[in-house]
Symmetry: C2
Subunit: 147 residues, 2 copies
Amino acid sequence: MTEPKPQTIATWIALANANRVVLEGIEDALKAAGLPRLDWYDALLEIEKAGAAGIRPFDLKERLLLPQYGMSRLLDRMAKAGLVDRQGVENDGRGQIVSLTPEGRSVRRAMWPVYAERLTRSVEGSISQEEASDLARLLNKLAHPES
Amino acid sequence: MTEPKPQTIATWIALANANRVVLEGIEDALKAAGLPRLDWYDALLEIEKAGAAGIRPFDLKERLLLPQYGMSRLLDRMAKAGLVDRQGVENDGRGQIVSLTPEGRSVRRAMWPVYAERLTRSVEGSISQEEASDLARLLNKLAHPES
DNA sequence: TCCATATAGATGCAAGTGCATCTACTTAAG
DNA sequence: CTTAAGTAGATGCACTTGCATCTATATGGA
């Protein structure tokens, strides 16, 4: 029986709470501004990075850590909103290439200041830069257990 | 324009990733064991703590940080699964009192070893106890911005 | 007492998610 | 060429979540 140490449980609760507080803060700010949710931002940014060449959905889903059907439907919604373009790809009749429309770029850019302001407030308002650096280091150890 | 420092962004990404990794690990383990999800565990535990006296849903939702309708429906599902009991309350005809059934207790207890094993592995397998303690301290600063 | 307001909880509807499966195309092996 | 296996992406169905609203009871005045 692997009973966790009390410190382990406390750390996990703190992790879940901190994530929730920061995330909800950002989501609330976006919603209040009438902007899409954070997952759209992530997707828009990743597609934007791919530039005019675009990106394949199967590639995108790896970067965004979404399940295949989740990616498919997120693209559906973003396409319906006019933010992304899907076009067939030359060599592979199964696939498609996704790229941002001008409006997609514009929405992504409108989201950033709201996102940034809230994130800055949440993080820089609570901990110093050294603490943030320590925190990130420890969190990355948790996220990448390649002991 | 409050542009976040690069360290701030890195910390936020690390926070989201660490949370996701630990959470998914636990959820996967519970699912693989054919057990309910973590949110049920939290609810079952909180109700169990209330003992025979039970607890009011409006109270429970504060502790679990759920919206009112979310609490209402979670109780629906847990009641349908036979894990909780809802009964009217004496002085307040609007309200109800929720308590665990024996099966609710038993399910909660069955979930714990699975939850505990995975949590222990995620945390204690990646960082030392001192690190966990530092991490919790920093995360709590993030979650409680009472500067 | 009567009414306005507040509180506890439920619910209709639209949207999002998870799972399994399906279609279409591609690739490799015979 | 033909066929089996693999890969890209879509989708039907059940379930969950969010939002707004609804019902029912409670409470604090006039």
